[in-house]
């Protein structure tokens, strides 16, 4: 890290030396984040693929397990995440306008909403644990003819929602970092790239849930609310 670099350009805020100008840097960061989100699409896609195969294969078991999905929590969580996407986009907008306090406020709101989601998820998981629906040696299922298939479907449920929750936790960490950076005056109307990039990430995690919700909670589920 001790190379003497030789261009004496006046540095725009946050501009790294290997870039020619801020526009190039911002475009690169944006493209880089989108490429990363592409990898996330394929990552979740693999699981969606497995899930689709088994739903197709075991429609009876699937209909049976869907009654154990907590539609109330699922719906509320969907609403919570949509709100958090709204507050996130307002945070980016505030950063764009150079409004430090609003930026922090909206980031904090996003973080709170994300935490609400995770809390409700925990409640859901705890409920499943009490019902002995966690795959493994402790798994029990009310309809014995669907025992094996139900275990596979619950496995996929936990894998998909669990990885989604993990991404939310990472997102929460990133939001915290943003809040700290914002309070230390790191952002301005000229440079707020991290806010924008993490915003893209957060929206993506929301979109994954937008698809998870109907697949896991709504289809095959015409019975009443509650798990």
């Amino acid at each position: 890290m001790a190379d003497i670099e030789t261009h004496p350009a006046a540095h725009a805020q946050g501009l790294k030396h290997h870039f020619d100008d801020s526009a190039q840097q911002l475009e690169s960061s944006t493209l880089g984040m989108w490429v990363f989100l592409l990898t996330e699409i394929m990552f979740f896609g693999g699981m969606f693929g497995g899930y689709t195969v088994y739903r197709n294969m075991y429609p009876g078991a699937f209909a049976s397990t869907s009654q154990f999905m907590n539609l109330a929590i699922g719906s509320i969580n969907t609403g919570v995440l949509i709100c958090s996407s709204f507050t996130m986009v307002l945070a980016v907008r505030a950063a764009q306008l150079g409004k430090k306090k609003s930026t922090i406020t909206f980031l904090v709101l996003t973080l709170i909403l994300g935490s609400v989601f995770l809390t409700l998820k925990y409640v859901e998981y705890y409920e499943k644990w009490k019902d002995h629906h966690i795959p493994g040696p402790g798994f029990r299922y009310a309809e014995p003819q669907y025992f094996h298939e139900a275990q596979i479907l619950f496995f996929l449920y936990f894998a998909m929602t669990g990885l989604h929750a993990l991404h939310m936790i990472v997102g929460a960490g990133l939001l915290t970092t943003l809040i700290v950076m914002a309070s230390r005056n790191r952002f301005s109307a000229e440079w707020y790239t991290p806010v924008e990039m993490i915003g893209l990430y957060w929206h993506f995690v929301d979109i994954v849930w937008i698809f998870l919700f109907p697949l896991l909670y709504l289809i095959g589920h015409t019975s009443s609310w509650g798990g």
Binding site: M1, G32, G46, P135, H148, Q151, F155
Partner: protein
């Protein structure tokens, strides 16, 4: 005319990326893509020899029909050979070493788009490698590098999860490298460097990066599900619990087939640089070669089912995959035709890089053609899971990719080190590799055709002669790889100082960047004023640059 540089001061008298700073911290905390490339070069080479060591064990075992190792040990040998070679050598090899080093320079940039992510990718690779080493030391894995369920999920008693974690981690390294290259090629090209002037080396790596970014996440999720299944036994891939082992194969090969294109496209990219230079002629059909890289990248994603022909996949899906597997051969063939056409009426010389390129073209063609045999379902039924398959992929991977790697290392050795390697030893090494390779792997085509199954520790006595030939070839091949290690290491320290452009090659890295380059690659901001491979001198912009 492009700008060419005057004869430089000697290495050591002028500041370049190697002597700009000293000490372990300047290497381990560097963000200079060239230093990171060297970090990768040493790690990747180390893994190559480790993977080779497992191969040595296998070939020794196969000298006699009963073998000397237990069957369990043999299973571990071929598994670790596959895992190390595929994930820790072949996938990163050219992209993370030559790609990292050259892409910014070739496009006229000061570094990659994300230098710190570049360094991070190396650290991630090392962590993955350490976990893999730990898995080996703990006793290894015996499932084959393909980890087929339900053996891997339920019945194997070896360190499957450790190996899966190692590969999962190394996958992120691959993704980050690909991401970096994609953004760099889109956003960091210097003035005048249009897409149609990009060196084919860059096109090839761009296509490779697309595959890395789109495919690797799927192996990640597959290994994740594999690990979870091994822990919880929910049955996702276990037929006794209602699961489908073929689903594992679908998800595994969705990545692993494109992965072989991750492994070969950079090799083709290197050949596309070497052949024009040593034919003193522009590449024939530049656009065709460029688009064929993209074509391979895209088509490579819709052929994976040819690994599942006998697994229980539906006949109709198999037919589609078989057809697409034939189609994907077309862009590869286009490249071979274009390289050949480049040499036609060119002024061909036989320096070491070109010898490796010749080896590549011939051996890759054989390997590729046998791939078509395997894509034909009726033939595949007879030779699947035999040594025919092994010979096929070693022809393309070792006869192809590794030779391209060697060729590239030799071609750009002066640029990287500022010194020249001994040309005679280079040629000797190339010849020994070529002879050793063919002696090792050609008999395996015959073995496979005669019915010798793969992954078998012991075999019927009638196969022994061919196995002995193959093992003898392997020892020659090993010597062929050791020789360059020795003289290249010597040459780095003691070789003659290289002139600015020892090959008189075209390209920004040879013409506008000093040898070796300074930390930010150029003393004067580069401008591209002519098409790629402008060996005839036509087509350069006049009055610009």
């Amino acid at each position: 005319m492009s700008t060419t540089l005057p004869h430089p001061l000697h290495v050591g008298e002028r500041t370049n990326y190697l002597n700009a700073d000293y000490g372990w911290k300047s290497w381990l905390f560097t963000t200079d893509h060239k230093r990171i490339a060297l970090l990768y070069l040493f790690s990747v080479t180390a893994f190559f020899f480790l993977g080779g060591l497992f191969a040595v064990g296998m070939r020794i075992n196969l000298l006699t029909p009963e073998g000397i190792f237990s069957h369990d040990t043999y299973n571990k040998l071929f598994t670790m050979h596959g895992i190390i070679m595929v994930f820790f050598f072949l996938v990163p090899s050219i992209p993370a070493t030559l790609g990292n080093f050259l892409i910014p320079i070739m496009i006229g940039a000061r570094d990659l788009a994300f230098p710190r992510i570049n360094l991070l990718s190396w650290y991630i690779y090392i962590v993955g490698g350490i976990v893999a080493l730990f898995a080996i030391v703990q006793g290894g894995v015996d499932t084959g590098w393909t980890f087929y369920a339900p053996f891997s999920t339920t019945y194997s008693n070896t360190h499957v999860i450790l190996a899966a974690v190692a590969i999962f981690i190394s996958g992120f390294s691959s993704i980050l490298t690909g991401l970096n290259f994609i953004v760099t090629v889109h956003k960091m090209r210097c003035p005048g460097m249009t897409w149609s002037r990009l060196p084919l080396f860059v096109w090839g790596h761009y296509a490779t990066s697309l595959i890395q970014v789109l495919g690797t996440p799927v192996i990640a999720i597959t290994l994740f599900l594999l690990g979870m299944e091994r822990l919880f036994h929910a049955g996702i891939f276990d037929p006794t619990l209602g699961g489908d082992p073929v689903l594992f194969q679908h998800l595994f090969w969705f990545y692993s087939h494109p992965a072989v294109y991750i492994m070969i496209l950079p090799g083709m990219a290197v050949i596309s640089e070497i052949v024009p230079c040593f034919s003193r002629k522009a590449i024939f059909g530049y656009e065709f070669v460029a688009f064929s890289s993209l074509g391979i990248a895209v088509l490579g994603f819709v052929v994976w089912g040819h690994h599942l022909f006998v697994a229980g996949q539906s006949m109709y899906a198999s037919m589609v995959f078989s057809f697409m597997s034939m189609v994907v051969a077309v862009p590869s063939a286009i490249k071979v035709f274009n390289w050949t056409a480049t040499m036609y009426k060119g002024s061909v010389s036989f320096e070491t890089p070109m010898l490796y390129a010749f080896g590549f073209i011939g051996l890759f063609t054989i390997g590729g053609l046998t791939g078509l045999f395997l894509a034909t379902m009726a033939f595949d039924v007879h030779v699947t899971d035999t040594y025919f398959v092994i010979a096929h992929f070693h022809y393309v991977m070792v006869g192809g990719m590794v030779m391209a790697f060697m060729g590239g290392i030799h071609f750009w050795f002066p640029k990287i080190t500022g010194r020249l390697y001994p040309e005679n030893w280079g040629r000797i090494g190339a010849a020994i590799v070529f002879i050793g390779f063919n002696l090792t792997f050609f008999p395996q085509f015959i073995l496979g055709y005669l019915g010798m199954p793969r992954r078998y520790a012991s075999y019927a006595p009638e196969f022994q002669m061919l196995h002995v030939m193959s093992s003898a070839g392997a020892s020659i091949l090993g010597v062929g790889y050791l020789i360059p290690i020795i003289y290249l290491t010597w040459a780095w320290r003691k070789g003659p100082i290289s002139p600015q452009n020892p090959w008189n090659a075209k390209g920004l890295e040879w013409e506008q960047s000093p040898t070796p380059p300074p930390t930010f690659n150029f003393d004067v901001p580069p401008v591209c004023t002519e098409p790629a491979y402008n060996y005839s001198g036509e087509g350069a912009e006049v009055g610009l640059g």
